[in-house]
């Protein structure tokens, strides 16, 4: 039994796999290319294992961003055979043939596999902050039935894979803040004690109208957040309420007039 196991193991670990890893240093102006590496694979190995092996043992100049290696921090985002994925969550044995690893193309390249994702924090700064109701007695009370929707969005690990896969952000550079930030807005909007409605802001400043609900963001989310169905479409509906619905806007004008007259 034991010998058999060993044999199987040997067969598995003895294999090397070909990795094509994108190399470019934008500061030297030489352009980029894929460099091939042969890496010995072990059972259960993930793509990040191979990449860190290369950067620690073969070529330390290979730039790569990673940290927890447990799919919790969202650092090691990359495009593996053209699909935006976390390197630490992509097992080598789920891919046949050569494994091509490239950086997230939606962001400016820093070096090799590392991109500059700082634009996301700039967007986050612009997002209207959580604004709770005033004068509620502390400690706050909230009903469990009201917190679930927002909590789904709080699972986001900010890997920015959804931003990367979004064709609006990636290809068209339209004034759309991208799926991650709509999810963030939704997480604040759907907080039961938040008083703001960010849907108007999302449409006017965030370019929500550029999203054409093609759902690639929802497909790549490693946390399985239903980005389009639960965040983007509800925010689109809310912005339809506040901006496009003629009856609601009539009604609002009427009730606002009434309130004004009262004052």
């Amino acid at each position: 039994m034991k010998a058999e196991n060993k044999k199987e193991e040997g067969a598995k670990t003895g294999r090397t796999r070909k990795f094509k890893v994108y190399r470019e240093d934008p500061t030297d102006g030489k352009g980029g290319e894929y460099q091939e590496f042969d890496v010995q694979v072990e059972e259960g190995m993930v793509v990040l294992d191979a990449i860190t092996y290369i950067s620690q043992r073969v070529d330390p100049t290979l730039a790569v961003r990673w940290n927890c290696k447990a799919a919790r921090c969202g650092s090691c985002s990359a495009e593996i055979n053209g699909v935006p994925r976390l390197m630490c969550k992509t097992r080598v044995d789920t891919i046949d043939g050569t494994i091509t690893v490239g950086p997230m193309r939606a962001f400016p390249l820093v070096k090799d596999l590392v991109t500059d994702v700082s634009s996301n924090y700039e967007i986050e700064k612009l997002m209207p902050e959580f604004k709770p109701k005033e004068g509620i007695s502390s400690p706050w009370r909230m009903n469990e039935m009201d917190v679930g929707r927002s909590q789904e969005f709080r699972k986001c690990i900010e890997c920015f894979l959804c931003q990367d896969v979004c064709h609006v952000v990636r290809d068209h550079h339209a004034a759309y803040i991208g799926p991650r930030h709509v999810v963030k807005a939704a997480s604040l909007d759907m907080h039961p004690l938040d008083t703001l409605d960010r849907s108007e802001w999302l449409t006017a400043d965030g370019g929500l109208g550029y999203c054409n609900v093609t759902k690639c963001c929802q497909d790549v989310c490693p946390e399985h957040i239903k980005i389009t169905d639960n965040a983007i479409i509800p925010e689109k509906e809310r912005s339809a309420d506040s901006l496009y619905d003629p009856i609601i806007s009539l009604f609002r004008r009427f009730s606002k007039g009434k309130a004004d007259r009262k004052q």
């Binding site: 891919i95 494994i99 193309r105 039935m145 064709h167 109208g209 609900v213």
Partner: protein, 240 residues
């Protein structure tokens, strides 16, 4: 996995791996309906009313707009007609910076924001499908259940499910509210919202199923009126 998809997609158009049957069936339906309506009118046959000839036909444009502005169909035509993008893997998406793009911000596509009004009209039309069903059951006096009635019933149920799994409805019944517990009958409404959300998760599949079934229903009725003996009486209770 991804590698496999890419390899295969070079032989066969990648659309075939996408849930785009809805779109093709929709185009087919519009074409078939137009031809059928004007060239081969069937109308009523032994108490069955072909869905295309029931009063719903009067509002066919609204039904068409309801489907056209539906989030499921939007995904389909944005992917497969406009190719923005065709697919998610970056090598096969057929989208790029060289192509201009306005998404749903252009004047024409701002109509998408009025999906809810088409939903309202779709809800208004729903009872007619059941009315037609009842007529088929009452044919010949007494109550008669035939296979055709079952076809009509399934058709009605599928359309009902499609309408009630709508994203706009989801917003209307609770999605737009931040606080369920603040509403009257909180737990009931939350339950309704949850059930509807469960349906909504399958909106794309239901949209397609109901579309296909309308065509099937139409074909079934046509077959009957052409004299093909498909129908069968399951039971018949005569008027007492």
């Amino acid at each position: 996995m991804a590698q496999k998809n890419i390899a295969v997609s070079r032989l066969i158009p990648s659309e075939f791996f996408e849930p785009n049957l809805r779109l093709y069936s929709f185009i087919f339906l519009i074409a078939a309906a137009s031809i059928a309506l004007y060239l081969f009118p069937v109308g009523e046959f032994k108490g069955y009313i072909d869905p295309f000839y029931s009063p719903t036909i009067l509002v066919l444009p609204l039904v068409g707009l309801y489907r056209l502005t539906c989030y499921a169909y939007r995904k389909d035509y944005n992917r497969h007609v406009f190719k923005h993008p065709v697919a998610c893997p970056v090598y096969t998406r057929m989208d790029g910076p060289q192509r201009s793009y306005t998404g749903e911000t252009s004047s024409l596509f701002k109509v998408e924001n009025l999906h809810r009004y088409f939903l309202y009209s779709a809800i208004a039309i729903l009872p007619f499908f059941y009315y037609d069903l009842v007529l088929s059951l009452m044919y010949s006096g007494g109550i008669i259940l035939r296979i055709g009635s079952i076809v009509l019933a399934v058709n009605a149920v599928l359309i009902t499910l499609y309408v009630f799994s709508c994203h706009s409805l989801r917003s209307l019944i609770g999605g737009r509210k931040d606080c369920f517990s603040c509403m009257a009958n909180a737990s009931g409404r939350k339950k309704f919202y949850d059930v509807q959300s469960g349906l909504n998760a399958h909106h794309e599949q239901i949209a397609w199923a109901s579309l296909v079934f309308i065509v099937f229903t139409d074909l079934y009725m046509r077959a009957l009126s052409a004299g093909i003996p498909l129908d069968h009486v399951i039971f018949h209770i005569l008027k007492l």
